[in-house]
């Protein structure tokens, strides 16, 4: 296996009395897709917010390419090559789709003209060419999710952190998105937080499972689904109910 590009070491974060993330550690290797699953409120999105420094961690350390990124601001983390999407897509509503992507291209481009040249390629990847001149606020859910992904891609990241880009999509739209993510794996390292099990199982090389802020399992999709702890924490609950 190739080198760990991101190392999360014993990270904890509390909100008041609630331990949202409790001593979580894992490594992310280059050109893999790491799935993060867990029941509602398990701390998946919090983990993303901690890695990108939208929240500051209380304890532990986060190393990106061997360097600690704790205490940086989100924009610096992004410029280092770690870009995340948001669970609730955040398009710049007043800007056109083209300009949304352009804004993502700008920090990494020397001139505005150079950034402008990159936009069409990204619009093509996320299939939004036809809507280039529509305002971002007018898009449907699927289009918003695509735009969210497009904006993240515009920053040309090494590590792409996708927070529920599939949730809320219809089955065939999901297939399309999965294909897209798998294709991106060729050039990037990807972390996905996802609710839809079919998706996570289908695309992830490895999976970590969170429950109440604690990492309870890690391994390949098959290993994880056969782990009794996981079945109890996550899959088991509904299984028992049905039984």
């Amino acid at each position: 296996m190739s080198e760990a590009i991101l190392q999360v070491k014993g990270v904890s974060k509390s909100f008041g009395g609630l331990k949202a993330t409790n001593d979580v550690s894992f490594d992310l290797y280059e050109h893999e897709i790491l799935g993060i699953i867990g029941p509602n409120g398990a701390g998946k999105s919090t983990l993303f917010n901690l890695i990108t420094n939208f929240y500051q961690i209380d304890e532990g350390d986060i190393l990106y390419k061997g360097e600690s990124i704790v205490g940086l601001t989100p924009d610096v983390v992004c410029r280092k090559g770690l870009t995340r999407t948001f669970q609730v897509a955040k398009p710049f509503s007043g800007l056109t789709v083209f300009d949304n992507i352009l804004v993502g291209c700008l920090p990494g481009s020397a001139t505005v003209a150079e950034a402008r040249d990159k936009v069409d390629g990204i619009l093509e990847i996320v299939k939004l060419n036809d809507l280039a001149h529509e305002p971002g606020g007018k898009l449907t859910t699927l289009q918003r999710k695509r735009l969210e992904l497009g904006k993240a891609l515009a920053t040309n990241p090494d590590v792409l952190m996708l927070d529920e880009v599939m949730t809320g999509l219809k089955p065939h739209e999901m297939e399309e998105m999965m294909g897209l993510v798998l294709k991106l794996k060729e050039t990037k390292t990807i972390m996905v937080v996802e609710h839809v099990m079919k998706v996570v199982m289908g695309i992830s090389d490895r999976i970590i499972v969170l429950d109440h802020g604690v990492k309870i399992a890690e391994g390949t999709p098959t290993e994880v689904t056969n782990n009794p702890k996981v079945i109890e924490a996550y899959l088991g609950r509904s299984a028992k109910k049905h039984a």
Binding site: T52, F86, F92, S93, G104, A113, R116, V119
Partner: protein, 344 residues
């Protein structure tokens, strides 16, 4: 896309040239002094609103206390001129620097900790109030609420004083042009600011430094309106705390920008060209008949504008085009529907 951008730039430059030539022509045409006064005021407010818009229009951080920085500029250059005979041309730079320092004091904590919406607006008003009370109470330096007047000199470029109106128009025009071109050239920053206005978290997730960009334009905006403060002194020859550092001046900049189209290059200029002449005409034609009537009408016009044209006058062509397109689409769909019905 590149062609579109080039065409847009050409159109923009052409607009600037036409406005400049028209204004320069005004210096030759024998208008009455009153008409010239209105034109000069319009250019002055176009410059000021452009400076306000650069920070507040593009970022959505609504400052209703910009008169604080205008006052700092005006008082600095005037006091230095009166007490030390320093030319206002240098005095206004010092005033601008002082205004930037004041802006930094407030912008840094506000933007570092993400103050926005009404909270930012309230703190901007608070700064204005503080500055005004200081100006009123530091009597030995500012002669308090009596105000200060500019020692008269005959036409003299060094003293930035002219007996005729025309030179003021030329000076204001140059600074307005410089301001508009500056904002136009800051294309990258404008995109960043628009992204920050729409969603600052999403902007920082894309690698844009929110705090740095906000502080940068806030400082530039404070510097520019402080220069405007000096212009005000040199043109009106008298300032007192309530006119130069009061809510009227501050809200005027906001209203002009919002009416013209905030967050656009020429919106503030269009706003000034509408608001200043109209309010002047209303004031002179109605002000003596029923006191306050002109403000009443002004208020109604404003309310109607904000309800029916929230994006400002500059958006009118867009609105018309969109209406026409949707009408066309509507006709086409009804036509195809009725066509489909006849087939059945």
């Amino acid at each position: 896309m590149k062609k579109q951008v080039d065409a847009k730039n050409k159109k923009f430059i052409l607009t600037l040239v036409i406005i400049s030539v028209a204004l320069l022509a005004c210096t030759v045409i024998p208008f009455s002094i009153y008409v010239k006064h209105i034109i000069i005021q319009t250019v002055f407010y176009a410059f000021m609103a452009t400076a306000w818009n650069m920070m507040c229009g593009y970022t959505g951080r609504l400052s209703l206390g910009h008169s604080a920085y205008i006052a700092v500029g005006a008082y600095t250059s005037l006091i230095l001129y009166r007490n030390h005979n320093l030319t206002p041309w240098v005095g206004m730079l010092l005033g601008g620097i002082l205004a930037m320092a004041l802006m930094f004091l407030i912008a840094f904590p506000c933007f570092r900790f993400g103050l926005k919406g009404p909270y930012f607006t309230l703190s901007s008003i608070a700064v204005m109030e503080i500055v005004r009370y200081l100006l009123t109470s530091m009597r030995s330096l500012t002669s308090g609420s009596l105000g200060m007047s500019l020692p008269y000199h005959k036409t003299n470029l060094f003293h930035f004083q002219f007996d005729h109106k025309e030179p003021y128009l030329v000076v204001f025009l140059i600074f307005w042009l410089a301001a508009v071109i500056l904002v136009w050239r800051m294309e990258r920053t404008r995109y960043y600011l628009e992204a920050i206005r729409e969603d600052d978290d999403a902007a920082s997730a894309l690698g844009i430094s929110v705090t740095k960009n906000l502080i940068k334009v806030a400082l530039m905006s404070a510097f520019m309106v402080a220069l405007g403060g000096t212009f005000y002194v040199q043109y009106y020859r008298y300032i007192d705390p309530i006119t130069i550092c009061g809510p009227h001046m501050a809200t005027n900049l906001a209203l002009i920008t919002i009416i013209g189209g905030s967050g656009t290059l020429l919106g503030p200029t269009i706003g000034a060209a509408l608001v200043i002449p109209i309010s002047e005409i209303l004031r002179t034609s109605l002000g003596d008949k029923l006191s306050g009537l002109h403000l009443f009408i002004y208020g109604i016009v404003l309310i109607v504008m904000i309800i029916h044209m929230p994006k400002g006058v500059i958006s009118i062509p867009d609105v018309i085009r969109r209406k026409r397109e949707s009408k066309k689409a509507h006709i086409e769909t009804t036509a195809s529907e009725s066509g489909g019905a006849s087939n059945e």
